[in-house]
């Protein structure tokens, strides 16, 4: 029986109620993941969902797969351990802007630089939701919350920049409010070999409602979303505007220009470039400088050996060279000597 062909969305829905707040962006992400997984050709029992702590990290409880709701910020460590132990598994990690970029930023960085073969969804709602509304590492400067009554002093972090700088081989941005786009990105992430890092804009309608409204409002969505497509020029606003690279100044800069039919002046999106420079610049658009639209889609995708792959290659090489280790070899080696005529019997009787 080929179970994978018969899998449907229903197979991935866990028994019991989902307990996120009504209207939370997490519902859409859950539904998209449950839609994508049955199409991947992977047996259900080979999916593992691992999370840290936070609203987003309740995710594994709602999936009818193997799951592990771990501790705050440490999901990358457990996910890495699962993958190293059994590389055949499809390991997905769920984290948030607090879990993955504040308490667990260290582990996020090391997971990315190692290129563990993990699919990472970072739900970014720019607020601490589970602790009821304090500013997060992605909250805008000056944000007034329960712990920043006069406005937060912290400069925010751009998750995409962090991932690129950490050596990520797959970096994408999508939005919980756009399931179709999100599912395309999830599919691409699933097909990527290595750490696939996806920032998902996710609205917290209780503590930070409207954080991503400008990407959704009819009046602004065209001018605020820069939808990336590999091999296509960076155009937006119904293809009336585009992004060009201006190298006339002391350092290269991106600029917006009107599109009048000649696409050659505009940057062609190449997520596979070896250099990270353009990915950086594109990833920062709209986040660092709100006068630009924000890039949505796959920003960077390159190929590099995964940690788990090399770990097993080394193990196989060692076995080929030295033969499979035995208990006898383990103990009866090094400087050994025998006292008296009686010898221990190293062979199992």
């Amino acid at each position: 029986m080929n179970a994978t062909q018969q899998l449907t969305k229903k197979d991935f829905i866990a028994e019991g109620d989902v307990k996120w707040c009504p209207g939370c962006g997490d519902y859409s992400i859950l539904s998209s993941v449950q839609t994508v997984l049955p199409t991947l050709g992977i047996p259900k029992e080979e999916f593992v969902f691992i999370s840290g702590i936070g609203c987003s990290s309740r995710f594994p409880y709602y999936m009818a797969t193997y799951g592990f709701h771990t501790i705050h910020g440490r999901a990358p460590t457990v996910a890495s351990g699962v993958k190293m132990a059994n590389p055949k598994l499809s390991v997905w990690m769920v984290t948030g802007d607090g879990d993955g970029l504040s308490i667990g930023a260290n582990h996020t960085m090391h997971m990315l630089r190692r290129n563990m073969d993990l699919k990472v969804m970072l739900f970014n709602n720019r607020i601490y939701g589970l602790t009821k509304g304090q500013y997060s590492p992605t909250s805008e400067q000056g944000k007034v919350t329960k712990t920043s009554l006069m406005g937060s002093i912290d400069a925010p972090l751009n998750p995409v920049s962090y991932a690129i700088a950490s050596g990520a081989t797959f970096v994408a941005r999508t939005s919980a409010a756009n399931p179709k786009h999100m599912q395309e990105v999830l599919n691409a992430a699933a097909a990527h070999k290595g750490t696939a890092f996806i920032e998902i804009f996710q609205n917290c309608n209780i503590f930070n409602d409207g954080a991503f409204a400008k990407y959704l409002n009819k009046e602004t969505k065209d001018s605020e979303n820069l939808v990336l497509e590999a091999g296509k020029p960076l155009l937006f606003n119904q293809d009336t505007l585009g992004i060009v690279l201006d190298t006339s100044g002391p350092s290269p800069e991106l600029k917006v220009e009107e599109y009048k039919g000649d696409s050659s002046r505009f940057i062609t999106h190449n997520p596979n470039a070896d250099s990270t420079t353009m990915a950086y610049l594109i990833g920062q658009l709209g986040i660092e400088d709100p006068s630009f639209p924000t890039a949505m889609g796959i920003i960077r995708q390159v190929s590099r050996p995964t940690y788990d792959e090399v770990l097993y290659a080394q193990e196989n090489e060692a076995k080929a060279k030295k033969g499979e280790g035995s208990l006898k070899e383990l103990l009866y080696s090094g400087e050994i000597w025998t006292v008296g005529a009686e010898k221990n019997s190293p062979e199992p009787v």
Binding site: Y61, H69, A85, L330, G340, V349
Partner: protein, 613 residues
């Protein structure tokens, strides 16, 4: 050359001390290997500074290696030194107090110059050796000069020549104690395989040191420590950290499971990770994580995925790992957490020994978090203790703490290699039947099933939230929490049900039970032997299992008038024992970073008994 008499000795304790760059650990290790292969029983105690290379010649940079060789069975590296080999004034100053009256002190006279005297805090023109001669036998050797002279025809740099001087000292000791030099020569040839000129130089200096002893006629006799009456069999000299690593690999082979170790380097546990890195062809996966937390996190992930998983650290690392230890406890996944204890608190004394983490591993987690604890008692014993920790982890589905300490970890002793067919069996099963699967179902020991990701129909989610028994569904209601807290406690208590009767050395009842755990084993065993031979009715119990304690322990202790608990802490196990059994005890505590002296323990024991035989 003269033919000197050979004076037979039962036992000799030698300490090599010098700068941390002088190669004292290497010198000590070579004397150890040679003596072990000659047939002596041996016990060693390396002692080195926390700094890798403290400023040369200073007190802070002194590194030492103590070795005791004997024609009898011994369990300690010795209370007092018979011989001190001091490479500079700082080494002499920090170690001379441990030398026996009339003991030998060999000094490198070339390094007893005004500069080094000043660095050691002496007046630069002081004559520090003459006053010592009233109490000790001082032998001044021009070690550096003789070494350089020996190598004058080689092309080595002046610095490389000078660095061979430890071999001169070793050669001299080999002469005085009638040891062959071939073991060391072979070792040098292997070590310097790619630089044969260095091998030749070192061997030349080793022989020069040997011949120097033969020539200078300062000794009336040389000494010989005859072979010990050692149990026949095949032996290997081993440190605690090496045997810990081998124990884990052996456990993985016994249960036919690959071993995963997620760790972060920390003194004195690092060698376990380094040792295991050699065993890729045994299916061992070593992961040097970004920190202590990631070390245990990755190991817990590997355990969830079905491997035998361990993490190694010392006290400061346990502090960082405690949240994950708790997650392992509540998710009831098997994992072994090794705490190679060092001097604390905080960064404390990284290279010194203590038994001060017991209460930390017992209680140092939020909520009620029971966890089995096993302790190794000597370097070679780490092998069996590591296997036992793995057995408990997988048979009872629980995290287990393995305790060792600096003294065990870096100390070495001859290890009678076990018969492979005598190694313990470990039962390990993975649940595969979807129709009967419940993640928190219980067997008769209250262990839950271990279903690996990849098993069809056994999909389940683990987590740190409180959960119902059997189904494992998240449930934070008060009744469920109370039930689960009791089940988790009972599950750990059930470990004691599987334990064999506790071994007692010496008298099974009488005046005094000496109860200990960990690295105090050697000192307590020797003390017990001395007391028994003096006619006292004394027994020794040295515990492997600190939590849960063996069920028969209370009844055993009740058969003695007094219970003495020596520990290298302020009474941590003593507190646990008294709380559990309501039996009065005499705690004997030492936290000066040194092992117990047998003479101290013997005197205290006699005081407790009150001199009655």
């Amino acid at each position: 050359m003269t033919t000197l008499n050979k004076e037979k000795l039962d036992s000799v304790t030698i300490r090599f001390v010098g700068d941390s760059g002088d190669g004292m650990q290497l010198t000590g290790n070579q004397f150890t290997s040679t003596s072990a292969m000659f047939g002596n029983d041996i016990s060693t105690y390396p002692n080195f500074p926390a700094e890798i290379r403290a400023p040369q010649g200073t007190l802070a940079g002194v590194s030492g290696f103590q070795i005791r060789i004997s024609s009898n069975q011994i369990h300690t590296p010795g209370d007092e030194l018979d011989v001190l080999v001091a490479m500079n004034p700082a080494a002499l100053k920090t170690n001379i107090a441990d030398l026996k009256q009339n003991g030998f002190v060999f000094v490198n006279q070339d390094d007893f110059n005004p500069t080094n005297l000043a660095k050691a805090g002496y007046d630069k023109d002081a004559d520090i050796l003459t006053p010592l001669k009233a109490k000790y036998r001082v032998v001044e050797v021009p070690l550096s000069a003789m070494t350089v002279e020996t190598l004058k025809d080689t092309n080595l740099t002046a610095k490389d020549k000078e660095r061979c001087k430890n071999m001169f000292a070793l050669g001299l000791m080999y002469f005085i104690y009638n040891r062959p030099s071939d073991v060391t020569e072979e070792w040098l040839r292997t070590k310097f395989k790619k630089k044969p000129e260095l091998a030749d130089a070192n061997i030349k200096v080793l022989k020069a040191g040997y011949n120097f002893g033969d020539t200078i006629e300062i000794f009336q006799s040389t000494f010989e420590v005859p072979k010990a009456q050692i149990k026949p069999g095949t032996y290997r000299n081993i440190t605690g950290n090496e045997s810990t690593a081998l124990g884990f690999v052996a456990a993985s082979k016994i249960m036919n499971k690959d071993l995963f170790i997620g760790s972060y380097p920390i003194t004195p546990a690092t060698e376990i990770l380094q040792e295991l890195a050699k065993y890729k062809h045994f299916g061992v996966k070593t992961f040097q994580a970004e920190d202590e937390i990631a070390g245990i996190g990755s190991a817990l992930g590997a355990s969830f995925a079905g491997l035998l998983a361990i993490t190694t650290t010392s006290g400061p690392g346990i502090a960082l790992k405690s949240e994950f230890m708790n997650l392992a406890m509540i998710t009831e996944l098997p994992i072994v957490i090794c705490d190679i204890q060092r001097g604390g608190p905080s960064t404390g004394l990284p290279t010194k020994t203590e038994q001060t983490d017991l209460l930390q591993v017992m209680f140092g987690r939020n909520g009620e978090s029971p966890m089995p604890i096993v302790a190794a008692r000597s370097p070679s014993d780490c092998f069996a203790a590591a296997i036992e920790a793995c057995r408990i982890a997988v048979e009872h589905m629980t995290p287990v703490v393995f305790l060792s300490d600096t003294q065990i970890a870096i100390g070495s002793e001859p290890w009678l290699l076990p018969n492979l067919d005598a190694l313990p069996k470990i039962k390990v099963e993975h649940h595969t039947d979807a129709s009967t699967f419940q993640p928190y179902a219980r067997n008769e020991l209250l262990a839950r099933p271990w279903a690996k990701p990849g098993t069809p129909g056994c999909e389940h989610t683990l987590g740190g939230l409180e959960k119902e028994n059997i189904t494992g569904k998240v449930n934070l209601s008060s009744g469920v929490h109370e039930e689960m807290t009791r089940i988790r406690a009972k599950k750990v208590e059930n470990v004691a049900r599987q334990l064999p009767a506790t071994e007692i050395f010496g008298e099974k009842s009488g005046d005094l039970l000496i109860l200990g755990w960990g690295s105090t084993y050697g000192s307590i065993r020797t003390t017990t032997e001395k007391l028994l031979s003096s006619g006292y009715k004394v027994g020794q119990v040295h515990l492997r299992h600190l939590n849960p304690m063996p069920n028969d322990l209370g009844a055993i202790a009740a058969k003695y008038k007094h219970v003495m608990i020596p520990e290298l802490n302020s009474g941590q196990f003593n507190m646990l024992f008294r709380a559990k059994f309501l039996i009065d005890t005499k705690a004997v505590n030492q936290i000066n970073t040194k092992p117990f002296n047998v003479s101290d323990l013997t005197r205290i024991a006699e005081e407790i008994i009150g001199g009655k035989r």
